[in-house]
């Protein structure tokens, strides 16, 4: 185990599915050739097949301590980086004969992408339901990717527990992708290596919170050390136990925790609201977040009731986050205050 463990808490009741975290991540790390199709963090609408398509059925992780076999997602299951016929439409002289369209690298028209099922949901009107799930590397305490790597290229940093891929040791064999039950590792076909969320370690090292945390306009994401008993992350995960790991039964001990979604009551056949229950089936939530989800939702509701009746609630106070800095854990440095001139490493090209 690492000496300390960083963890994320994402409140699905504040998440808007806006992809600000997605784009903050993308513009930081995956703009180079070979990484265009990589979305180290993506927000998907659930229920849904997610990204890659059907990842929950692809195996990986552990059962009773033994690794579960996993399979490699196909390229079309990931979805590819699309380009568009801008030149043809804007200055091709073809007028309305052409219109802007996405193309896969092979020229085909896309039929899947990282967020293909946005806002589709499940159920039947008027009781449709859906919610948003930001999905990044879980920086597991027992990372199956690390176990699966034949080259010892994956390791866990002692100071913060981030799971990182040594891109010099990695030979792109992709056994880690198979082993990851969350399918949060990508293959870079140009560099022929595997790549994934790096926990924004260059930011963290400078005391700046990860981009997905600091750039979340919904103020839905917290970061911090799990052992910091004064921190919001500890309180939400350990003390109040309203933040739960995703698919905990897969045994990797993930460190991204989710405050599960409340939802409006369903409307019965007679048109009356079924008060006291949410419209997202509990079975579905238990499958995602384990049996603790019942208690977590009950705690949330009970504390909301307290707030409604004018009592103070530590839990509500934490989830409100009166100050932006409360979300950032110990990483409250303002990036504009840093001097980060280019060319500090002449050995790098």
């Amino acid at each position: 185990m690492s000496e300390r463990q960083l963890a994320w808490v994402i409140d699905l009741n504040k998440c808007l599915g806006c992809q600000a975290c997605t784009l903050a991540c993308k513009t930081h790390w995956t703009t180079d050739v070979g990484t265009e199709h990589q979305w180290w963090l993506i927000v998907n609408t659930l229920p849904g097949q997610g990204h890659p398509r059907g990842w929950q059925e692809m195996g990986g992780g552990y059962r009773d301590g033994e690794p579960l076999p996993g399979r490699l997602p196909k390229r079309e299951e990931w979805g590819q980086a699309w380009d568009f016929n801008y030149q043809e439409v804007l200055e091709g002289g073809k007028g309305q004969q052409v219109h802007l369209l996405p193309f896969n690298p092979d020229g085909s028209h896309p039929s899947w992408g990282p967020n293909w099922e946005e806002d589709l949901g499940a159920g039947e009107y008027p009781n449709a339901y859906f919610f948003y799930l930001p999905h990044l590397c879980h920086h597991c305490s027992r990372p199956s990717c690390l176990d699966a790597c034949p080259r010892d290229a994956i390791y866990k940093r002692p100071q913060d527990g981030l799971v990182l891929i040594d891109e010099e040791r990695c030979n792109g064999c992709r056994l880690c992708v198979e082993a990851c039950p969350y399918k949060r590792i990508y293959f870079n076909p140009i560099a022929e290596i595997c790549q994934k969320c790096i926990g924004c370690y260059p930011r963290i090292e400078q005391g700046v919170a990860p981009a997905c945390v600091r750039q979340c306009p919904g103020r839905a994401v917290w970061v911090g050390f799990l052992d910091d008993e004064e921190g919001a992350v500890y309180k939400l995960v350990r003390k109040w136990q309203v933040a739960l790991p995703l698919l905990p039964h897969l045994g990797t001990q993930p460190n991204v925790y989710y405050v599960p979604p409340l939802s409006p009551p369903p409307i019965g056949e007679d048109g009356e609201a079924q008060w006291g229950q949410g419209r997202i089936p509990m079975e579905y939530l238990r499958r995602l977040f384990g049996p603790q989800v019942d208690q977590a939702l009950a705690t949330l509701q009970a504390e909301r009731e307290k707030a409604r009746s004018g009592q103070t609630s530590e839990l509500m106070r934490i989830l409100i986050a009166y100050r932006f800095q409360e979300l950032l854990g110990p990483f409250t440095v303002n990036p504009s205050q840093l001097q980060r001139p280019v060319g500090q490493n002449p050995t790098l090209t």
């Binding site: 380009d83 009107y125 940093r157 600091r214 306009p217 932006f324 280019v342």
Partner: protein, 927 residues
């Protein structure tokens, strides 16, 4: 055994190296997402913008209320990708094929400006200066470019009509359409009705206050036909039938009155509900009825104590010793000695509400009566906000919906205090920006002096009628003198009349079967009556009978995407009349594709500006120049000055000294740039911005040390007061330094009257047309079958991924959804039509048809089709988009004028085409 390793190899340095920069510059995106003006850091490396990140530096305003950080959304987070994008334009382009063909010739700036200047001069001399039209879009970068219109006597079309964000029902009620609380005030609400809005898509940067209000003990109820993305975080979703929101609101009003839950004092004091109405003619009892020479705007209460009619004071809302009756029928003697029966509006309202008893309303809006009662009781018992966007105003009967929603707030005392009210868009906070054309020299002291003279002018107006508040005097000046001086700040014309005569709307608006059946006469009869009575003369409505448009300039906007009624209508009717069409933009949009010239403008990171200063955050935010404009692009201020200089030069060469406009004013074509730049002092955009900021400081809007240099240090400055121009005065409240902002406090706390005919929140409109239509009081009317008799209703709303069409074609954003336009359809409807998720469907009606990808979802109400707007037409097949299905109907009552607050002034009361809930059908098409 988990392996732990501390040392990181050389590879790790590559990521550290990625996160480096040479400079950090304050930036913002200056678009109208209300509020725009998110403070960003823009990171520059090797002379290029590489990234941006929300600054997260806004202060907490009120103790115990969350701060506004990190304000900024996903669009802002990849704005830099637009700088170097394929749709970017960096050289002047001249059309080399047919309009819309996409064939271009690169030309020099000098050639482009010379040819455009000649077209402008041709138009001005042949048709008059009004024939050169600058479309009024809110893109703030366009405003310097439109300075050209100020000095050349051209017209600018009213922005609120162009982008159609008017709230007519709120305007009818309050005399302003745009009371806006600060974002953080939403935290104070105990009940938030998200109603006709989808803030999860459209207010990403401040939705958190709603989520946090919920954790603070508040409740959220979303009222929408579909289970919208803004319903998922609600405590309840009310699946209302499309277009029946007025019935729902009125049913709640009925419950609140029947159960005695209404705020009697608030109703008596703040509204017209106690005012007496004559039973013989349905008109308010006026002083002119009672006495010779009596005022037409003096109304009466029945004092329940003294049992006499007493004049409702013109100068205060305070009741004094009077107990205005809300019920009862009384007799009063008129000046001719006859007696008539009168009754308070409230009593008439109660009769009207008999039609909205919950069981009856449930038949209309398909919401269970018990639910209506439950929500009504909640509204009546806690601070409530209605999060309405600009969706109701885009409905044919949106005025009735908004009046009903305002009535709900009135009965429950829900405005003028923290955590209450509703919202619209409102900008303000820079008076100097508007005053610039009135200055003679670049000196903040002069700005202060001009401002002082403006206030003096208002006092002069008030000296003629001391009962006017300053707000009323200001409105009067805008209404009556608005067009007189070509330099009038923000001078605009309501474009409906231009559209009627020249854009092909006459025929559309006369499709009687697409109007409400209560329209008793033909649309044309109302239209002609309105013109003949001179109701729209302050908006130069009659000019278009004489003037043919010749030059159209779209600076920063995209009319062929935006216009309700569709590009076909414009291309068929307006385009042939236009000798020259210019797009000034940093990108090629659909309007640019159909233009004759595209002038390459600087993008937001390449010029100095401040973003749309909005009452939502009461902050002036710097959008600085992070990098110089790419290639040959120029800032829009520079483009404006270059154009003025070229017009001047060509006029001199052609021997044209001045032209005269239709108001008989001489427009001199000499010294144009000299005047616009105050003798050259503000030719430089830094100097211009510095003058604006220091002038705002001199006026007292910003703190005394405000300057460009200061703003470059701090990035943003909170306002000290709202100022007199922009939408500041509409708020009727002062900024308190350490509190959230709530509008209408002057009314509720200080008892200052409203700027309506009755000087109260007015629910009874006794204009003859409204009486004829049965809309003197709010009511529900069915959405007319605009588009023909088809089974589906097409609804829309702003999408999640762009601000209008800006950013919609950003490649990185396109990759986060389907990369092309789509329509949502209910799964059962889709099944019945044989449509599967991802199929292409044709949506059509009597106006047109479009082909689009289907997204099949149970979240959509059966019978509803949703196409979120903002798609560039050129992302659609044949470039036909949903606007080509929208008839663009105008409700005839919105031509009404000559009545109290029903007069034109910029951005306010005027006819505006609607687009929601039009009729369509769908069918599957082969791919």
């Amino acid at each position: 055994m988990v392996q732990v390793r501390g040392a990181m190899g050389l590879w790790a340095e590559r990521y550290r190296e990625k996160w480096r920069w040479d400079r950090v510059v304050w930036g913002s995106h200056a678009v109208d997402c209300y509020p725009g003006g998110c403070p960003w850091y823009v990171f520059v490396r090797d002379g290029r913008v590489v990234r941006e990140e929300q600054a997260g530096t806004l202060p907490q305003i009120e103790a115990g209320v969350p701060d506004m950080n990190p304000m900024g959304c996903q669009k802002g987070a990849c704005w830099s990708h637009l700088l170097y994008a394929p749709e970017r334009v960096t050289r002047p382009l001249k059309r080399a094929g047919e309009r819309g063909e996409g064939k271009w010739e690169e030309i020099s700036w000098d050639q482009a400006l010379t040819e455009i200047a000649d077209h402008i001069l041709d138009a001005m001399t042949e048709q008059g200066p009004e024939s050169v039209i600058w479309l009024g879009t809110p893109e703030i970068g366009a405003i310097p470019a439109r300075a050209a219109a100020t000095y050349l006597g051209h017209v600018t079309t009213d922005g609120n009509a162009e982008f159609q964000d008017m709230s007519p029902g709120y305007y009818l009620t309050w005399g302003v359409f745009n009371p806006v609380a600060s974002m953080d005030d939403w935290f104070h609400a105990r009940l938030i009705l998200i109603w006709h809005a989808n803030p999860v898509y459209t207010n990403i940067h401040w939705y958190h206050f709603i989520a946090e209000a919920r954790y603070n003990g508040g409740e959220v109820i979303t009222i929408a036909p579909d289970y919208s993305p803004s319903a998922i975080h609600a405590d309840y979703h009310i699946p209302v039938r499309i277009g029946t929101d007025a019935a729902l609101a009125l049913a709640m009003c009925k419950v609140i009155i029947d159960e005695g839950l209404y705020d009697r004092r608030f109703v008596q004091e703040q509204t017209d509900l106690p005012l007496l109405v004559r039973r013989d003619n349905g008109r308010f009892l006026r002083q002119a009825d009672m006495a010779d020479g009596g005022r037409e705007d003096q109304f009466y209460w029945w004092d329940a104590k003294a049992q006499i009619p007493v004049p409702a004071p013109l100068t205060t809302l305070a009741l004094g010793d009077v107990e205005p009756a809300l019920e009862g029928t009384y007799r009063v003697r008129l000046k001719d000695g006859t007696e008539v029966e009168v009754e308070p509006v409230f009593q008439r309202l109660c009769r009207r509400l008999e039609d909205y008893q919950p069981e009856k309303a449930a038949q209309i809006c398909e919401v269970r009566p018990e639910l209506i009662r439950m929500v009504a009781r909640k509204v009546a018992t806690r601070p409530t906000k209605i999060f309405s966007g600009w969706n109701p105003g885009k409905h044919y009967h949106g005025d009735l919906m908004e009046r009903s929603m305002a009535l709900l707030l009135a009965l429950t005392g829900n405005w003028g205090k923290k955590g209450t009210g509703t919202r619209s868009w409102a900008v303000g906070g820079s008076t100097a920006w508007f005053l610039l054309p009135l200055l003679e020299k670049a000196d903040p002291a002069e700005a202060r002096e001009v401002y002082r003279r403006l206030i003096e002018a208002l006092e002069t107006v008030r000296s003629f009628d001391p009962t006017l508040t300053r707000e009323m005097a200001l409105i009067r000046v805008q209404q009556e003198l608005g067009m007189a001086d070509p330099r009038t700040p923000g001078r605009m014309v309501p474009p409906a009349f231009l559209w009627y005569y020249h854009f092909g709307y006459k025929e559309r608006w006369n499709r009687r079967e697409w109007h409400d059946p209560s329209m008793k006469r033909s649309f044309d009869e109302y239209f002609q009556e309105a013109l003949e009575k001179g109701w729209w003369d302050s908006g130069w409505a009659r000019v278009w009978q004489q003037v043919e448009p010749r030059v159209l300039i779209e600076a920063g906007g995209n009319v062929l995407r935006r216009q309700r009624g569709g590009q076909e209508l414009l291309l068929k009717h307006a385009w042939p009349k236009l000798k020259c069409i210019v797009s000034i933009d940093y990108r090629i949009n659909t309007t640019g594709l159909y233009a004759d010239y595209i002038l390459p403008a600087a993008q937001h990171y390449e010029k100095v500006g401040f973003s749309m200063p909005s009452i939502h955050h009461l902050t002036t935010v710097l959008a600085d120049r992070a990098v110089p404009p790419l290639d040959q692009a120029k800032s829009d201020w520079e483009i404006a000055i270059l154009l003025l200089e070229k017009v001047e030069e060509r006029a001199r060469q052609r021997g044209i000294k001045e032209v005269t406009n239709r108001a008989g004013q001489a427009i001199s074509l000499e010294g144009l740039a000299e005047r616009a730049t105050l003798g050259g002092a503000i030719r430089d955009e830094d100097a211009r911005m510095d003058l604006i900021l220091r002038s705002d400081a001199a006026i007292g809007i910003l703190s005394g040390d405000a300057s460009l240099a200061k703003l470059r240090q701090v990035g943003h400055m909170r306002w000290r007061r709202l100022g007199l121009l922009g939408h500041g005065p509409s708020q009727a409240a002062d900024i308190r330094p350490h509190e959230t902002f709530s509008p209408f406090r002057w009314h509720v706390e200080d008892k200052l009257p409203y700027a309506t005919l009755t000087r109260r929140a007015q629910f009874y409109i006794d204009h003859e047309w409204f009486l004829e239509a049965g809309e003197e009081l709010p009511c529900h009317k069915e959405v007319p079958p605009m588009g023909g008799n088809y089974p589906f209703r097409l609804t829309s709303g702003h999408n999640r991924w762009s601000i209008h069409s800006m950013n919609q074609t950003n490649k990185i954003i396109l990759n986060t959804h389907r990369g092309e336009p789509f329509a949502f359809i209910n799964n059962r409807d889709a099944e019945a039509k044989g449509i599967k998720n991802g199929d292409y469907i044709r949506i059509y009606n009597d106006c047109g048809s479009m082909i689009i990808q289907a997204k099949v979802s149970p979240a959509v109400r059966p019978g509803q089709i949703i196409v979120y707007n903002g798609w560039e037409p050129y992302t659609h097949r044949r470039w036909y988009s949903e606007s080509d299905l929208e008839p663009g109907m105008v409700k005839w009552l919105h031509l009404a004028g000559g009545y109290g607050h029903l007069r034109y002034r910029l951005l306010h009361w005027q006819p505006i085409p609607v687009d929601r809930a039009i009729t369509v059908d769908v069918e599957k098409v082969s791919p």
